[in-house]
């Protein structure tokens, strides 16, 4: 009896609900033929109400996904990138490199709240205006230009996370020898002078590279191939060349001190990247699913590509190679994620894995620059490959970007029938390269004059943890 009780009650409840529904349906049927003016007026109001409820439900779903995505992208910087880079440096510089990532979580956030968001997403051709300075007008109401279904606050905090990780990527090139004070000043300037204008040009309303918001050279960049990866990667190269090699490089061995940390970091990056790319749909939509799948496929193919290349060349596939390959694939798919189908994503990943492998192993050795953690080799090169291949593989079946006069979807990428897109991608890449190159060089000079960029040789040998921060990563004796 006891166990039958609840079942019985449920059965009764179900039948009552069923009967009620039946009656209601009959009532409606009886009313419809009557069809008086009054009845249609009521149903109009009902439809409006229903519309409101549906859009509220969609907004709630989109907002949930976008808040999670924002958190995932923050996770890419800390702990993801901090661990990835932290494991790759020598023991004496572990905290310094992690601190550089973490410091940006604080520094860029403050700058973002004051002027950053406005400079990136205000309106203007080269850079945004000050209309949203101090987050003026940024509330729970959506900003229809960017993301019509989520509160602008969500959009703002989501974009902030991109602004944090981008300069953090550069610290991979300056690792083990850059002053902390120099890093803080340089990144502050870089964020304002390089990142904000570039983000605005590509994503902002009226930006001249924007594909959907009235740009002259519509460059497709779904989640930041040019804005995030080319800008940081090319700046990283300039930094590496400007600062010179680490003391003893390349004669003194500088193997990674803990690939375990790097491994965990890379896996966190991979997971966080779903927020980065799928989140860039700015809605919990089919497009987000598409970007999610493309992201994952590219990472996997690139891990296979890099490992295979290494296996053939060295006879052994290394763990560092596999995780570096995955990151390269994630970088390359970033601009393409929301424009390409799963199979092209596999191709983009595989190409990025092999090419980035050759870049960091061969090309770097030929030119002899000391990009300590391969920020350029992975982000600059992977970002460029991705941006160009986006122009090849972008498809209207995935994302309708362009319309003809009748409103029909037209071709997006080369294989879709729009060869010109490759040219626009090229323009976007060149602009990002030149902008990052020149901007970084000037800002490094300024930083060097004001506080200096490089630590002294003794400090470099002693390690940045002790000399810059007064602590050590591992006090194993205590």
């Amino acid at each position: 009896m006891d166990c039958n009780g609840p079942a019985l009650r449920r059965a009764i409840l179900v039948s009552v609900v069923f009967l009620a529904a039946l009656f209601a349906a009959k009532g409606l049927k009886a009313q419809t033929p009557a069809g008086s003016f009054l009845a249609s007026a009521v149903s109009q109001a009902d439809i409006a109400k229903l519309d409101q409820r549906i859009s509220a439900a969609q907004s709630s779903g989109d907002n949930a996904w976008m808040l999670v995505s924002a958190a995932l992208v923050l996770m890419m910087t800390g702990p993801g990138l901090a661990l990835f880079y932290g494991g790759l440096v020598r023991q004496k510089n572990t905290l310094a490199i992690m601190m550089q990532s973490f410091a940006l979580m604080g520094l860029i956030t403050v700058l973002w709240a004051l002027v950053g968001y406005s400079l990136c997403f205000g309106s203007g051709t080269l850079v945004g205006g000050f209309e949203h300075a101090f987050l003026r007008g940024v509330g729970v109401e959506p900003n229809g230009d960017y993301a019509p279904t989520i509160p602008q606050l969500t959009f703002m905090i989501y974009q902030l996370m991109f602004a944090i990780i981008t300069p953090a990527l550069i610290t991979g090139a300056t690792a083990e020898r850059m002053k902390f004070s120099g890093t803080v000043l340089f990144i502050t300037l870089w964020f304002l002078v390089v990142y904000a204008p570039l983000a605005h040009m590509v994503w902002g309303k009226g930006g001249f590279l924007s594909a959907t918001l009235g740009g002259k050279f519509p460059t497709l960049d779904f989640a930041g191939g040019t804005v995030v990866h080319i800008s940081s990667g090319v700046s990283a190269l300039v930094c590496a060349l400007y600062m010179g090699k680490r003391h003893g490089y390349p004669k003194v061995p500088m193997p990674p001190h803990s690939l375990v940390l790097s491994f965990i970091g890379a896996c966190l990056l991979w997971v966080g990247w779903f927020g980065f790319n799928a989140g860039s749909a700015l809605a919990s939509s089919g497009l987000a699913s598409s970007a999610f799948v493309a992201t994952h496929f590219a990472a996997a193919a690139a891990a296979c590509g890099w490992s295979a290349a290494e296996w053939i060349k060295n006879g052994k596939p290394s763990a560092l190679g596999a995780i570096s390959g995955a990151v390269a694939g994630l970088v390359a798919i970033t601009p393409a994620a929301g424009f390409v189908a799963p199979m092209p994503a596999l191709i983009i990943g595989a190409v990025a894995g092999v090419v980035c492998y050759l870049m960091v192993t061969r090309v770097k050795a030929i030119f002899g620059y000391d990009d300590a953690l391969d920020a350029f080799g992975v982000h600059g090169v992977g970002g460029t490959i991705g941006a160009l291949l986006t122009g090849v593989f972008a498809s209207r079946a995935i994302n309708v970007v362009y319309h003809d006069v009748k409103g029909n979807a037209t071709a997006v990428g080369w294989l879709d029938g729009n060869f010109g897109q490759v040219g626009y991608q090229f323009v976007g890449v060149i602009v990002a390269w030149v902008f990052a190159l020149v901007g970084t060089l000037v800002l490094l000079k300024i930083t060097d004059m004001l506080v200096g960029v490089r630590v002294s040789e003794e400090h470099e040998i002693e390690g940045l943890d002790v000399t810059q921060h007064g602590e050590e990563a591992y006090n194993l004796e205590t």
């Binding site: 390349p250 061995p253 193997p255 990674p256 060295n314 052994k316 290394s318 560092l320 190679g321 570096s324 492998y357 960091v360 192993t361 061969r362 770097k364 050795a365 391969d374």
Partner: protein, 112 residues
Amino acid sequence: MMKLEAIIQPSRFESVKDALREIGVEGMTVIEVRGHGRQKGHTEVYRGREYTVDLLPKIKIEMILPDKIVQSVVDTILRTAKTGKIGDGKIFLSRIDDAIRIRNDERGESAL
């Protein structure tokens, strides 16, 4: 009394230790060391950069032994530590003048 220092392959250590216990060796001091003799190191490759690691991990066993068991201990180590390849290590023997047990001032072989 003799001091025996044996540098052996880490992979053989458990067998050596068990065999020594079987023949009645009561104590030993073990140190993880790095070094090389004629055995060459190996190379590690990180993103295409090759590093030669020429100091390899070894286990060093130190024992002070009464004269009468020295030969059987040496035989046991030779038997159990051998893999037949370069890098199996070496045994060094030297004389010990005296031994003192800190707990009760005992001296000589009885202090071992």
